[in-house]
């Protein structure tokens, strides 16, 4: 995206895409042997079917990753939960969600009925939380599970599981036997070396990795001198984090040549999605861009589909479950 206007897509691709026109997807991808009709999904926490269904047909996306799901309803953090950074958004939702039972009764069946490929994002304050959720999702219609071990907003003995490779391995050893569903582990960038938890996750059963979750950040109000977000710190997302996400994918791809990777962070155009694919991702998820325009994920998918036309080598690799690197 260049200037902050709705006309951006048209400028970047040099042509206007009517995202509402029926479209035959030309370039599929595979993530842990699951075929996506295109490489673009939504990122967890920025997609709710009840809100998005008015704007476009969600079955057109490569996948839909739903909001972090906990064993019981969580009320999350107090408001204000958000602030703005230069080219970014900060959030501290604290994983508010109505719980896994509601998810199984309401969101999931609706999404499946709408024809979506669904990734269920799993959240927890402790190992037991994760286990309860995975147990209930094991026999569900969810196509893939994404284990969020990285949310910086929730205190888990201080840090998140994603920052401690031993804790992560322990958790994966518990979760892995519970289901045959493809299990994606979603990593946090707030670590010294992201290849360390990446390796731990893969060695303990992850079928794929996704990255990055939000980057720790904060804003203060210069009228009051106090933090803007009630939780004080929050997670940075949006265009500003793009180079951080690209570096994470590239480094993990270099360390682990075979593992499927979903690239996340700052994607707001087909070109940026493409950049993640060149960094070694098999697919991408779009988060904050959807806050600024509801149809961003679908527009990006369409832009990417056209960009891949001119890149047959990359397209063929993705369709075969391989990557550029």
């Amino acid at each position: 995206m260049s200037a902050n206007t709705a006309a951006t897509a048209a400028r970047e691709t040099d042509k206007h895409i009517n995202i509402y026109e029926p479209h035959e997807w030309k370039h599929s991808t595979q993530v842990a042997s699951v075929t996506w009709k295109n490489p673009v999904g939504t990122a967890s926490g920025t997609f709710q079917y009840a809100a998005v269904r008015w704007f476009y047909d969600v079955s057109q996306l490569g996948a839909v990753c739903t909001k972090g799901c906990s064993p019981i309803p969580w009320e999350g953090n107090p408001s204000p939960r958000t602030a703005e950074g230069p080219a970014s958004n900060l959030n501290a939702v604290g994983l508010q969600n109505p719980g896994v039972d509601h998810y199984l009764e309401d969101d999931l069946p609706k999404l499946k009925k709408a024809g979506a490929m669904v990734i269920a994002n799993v959240a927890g304050h402790c190992d037991d939380d994760y286990m309860q959720v995975v147990e209930k999702l094991a026999d569900s219609d969810a196509d893939m599970l994404e284990i969020n071990v990285s949310c910086p907003n929730v205190t888990h003995g201080g840090m998140s599981v994603g920052t401690d490779p031993v804790a992560l391995a322990t958790l994966m050893d518990k979760l892995r036997p519970m289901t045959d569903k493809p299990m994606i582990v979603k990593l946090t960038p707030n670590v010294t070396d992201i290849t360390v938890p990446a390796r731990a996750a893969v060695e303990h059963g992850a079928d794929a990795l996704s990255m990055i979750n939000t980057v720790l950040g904060m804003r203060l109000n210069i009228r009051t001198g106090e933090p803007i977000i009630a939780n004080k710190t929050g997670g940075v997302s949006g265009p500003a984090v793009l180079p951080i996400g690209i570096a994470a994918v590239y480094r993990v791809r270099t360390a682990l040549p075979e593992i499927p990777i979903i690239g996340i962070g700052g994607i707001d155009s087909g070109e940026k999605a493409l950049e993640y694919l060149y960094a070694g991702a098999n697919a991408v998820e779009v988060g904050a861009a959807a806050l600024f325009d509801p149809v961003a994920p679908l527009r990006i998918a369409r832009e990417l589909d056209d960009l891949l036309d001119e890149r047959p080598e990359l397209a063929a690799k993705l369709a075969a479950g391989k990557t550029w690197r």
């Binding site: 902050n4 206007t5 704007f55 909001k67 408001s79 230069p86 958004n89 959030n91 939702v93």
Partner: protein, 274 residues
């Protein structure tokens, strides 16, 4: 400051396909400074003009890529296919929006949220303060079209009465007070005593929008009298259309989204005034 004119009508594309229009670019038709640092901005948008309900809002977007997040503003008036908002310049986003000129383009998403419920025939008492006034102007405009209802405005100002001409343009009776004289609850009491508040056979229903302490006081005042009250809330938002859960308010039913469960809540929902 202008922007790129979209060559395609995304609103038409979306609605033709049966979907709600996404963010799109519209033309600014008028920008007026009402008082110091308070601006009225009008843009042309047939879709929003024909669908917006009072207390619904629109997300406006600046042309500054540092500020990607939506700036939500309550719709304050609709004339033909033109939609107006009134806003205070409080930060860099509103500062930049205030620099738009007639003929410039601006990005918009809306109308968003649930508006006031105006289904019942009533004497709608519009109680507002500060930047809560703009949505009430639109409520008054809409009530003026309802055969069975009347509107009474009771507005508190800090000092400058910036929206007054707009409110009184549409209300059947309008009253105001400023900080030097007292607050809106003082004024409500005064008007109750003088009988002016209920000078009609209609059942009173309060619609309120304004600073939190004011709305709490108004809810308490209404609760004491068993008058229904609908209160329009504000919260920092991420998306404005219900997808991110960044905009919650604590209610008796838990943390609800201001943008899509609201912005209008009843005093019972908010647990205020009991």
């Amino acid at each position: 400051m202008t922007t790129f004119t979209p060559t395609h009508d995304v609103v038409a594309e979306a609605t033709a396909a049966g979907f709600f229009p996404p963010r799109h670019t519209v033309e600014v038709t008028q920008v007026t400074e009402l008082t110091d640092r308070v601006v009225r901005l009008t843009f042309r948008d047939a879709f929003i003009a024909s669908h917006a309900k009072p207390a619904q809002f629109v997300n406006l977007f600046t042309h500054d890529d540092f500020m990607l997040m939506p700036r939500p503003f309550g719709v304050s008036e609709v004339e033909g296919d033109e939609v107006s908002v009134i806003f205070a310049i409080i930060g860099h986003g509103t500062e930049q929006l205030a620099q738009l000129q007639s003929g410039d383009m601006v990005d918009v998403l809306g109308p968003l949220g649930r508006g006031f419920n105006l289904k019942q025939d009533a004497n709608y008492i519009l109680v507002g303060g500060g930047l809560g006034v703009p949505p009430l102007v639109y409520a008054a405009q809409k009530i003026a079209d309802l055969a069975g209802s009347v509107a009474t405005s009771v507005i508190g100002y800090r000092d400058a009465h910036f929206g007054e001409e707009y409110v009184s343009r549409y209300t059947d009776r309008s009253f105001s007070i400023d900080n030097a004289q007292g607050n809106v609850v003082d004024l409500l009491n005064q008007l109750e005593q003088s009988g002016e508040l209920y000078a009609t056979d209609h059942t009173p229903i309060i619609l309120s929008c304004g600073p939190l302490p004011m709305m709490k006081a108004v809810a308490a005042w209404a609760a004491e009298r068993d008058i229904p009250a609908q209160l329009s809330m504000e919260q920092r938002m991420g998306c404005g259309y219900g997808t991110c859960v960044l905009c919650t308010v604590d209610t008796v039913d838990g943390r609800l989204k201001v943008c899509s469960d609201g912005p209008v809540f009843t005093r019972e929902q908010l647990g205020w005034g009991k």
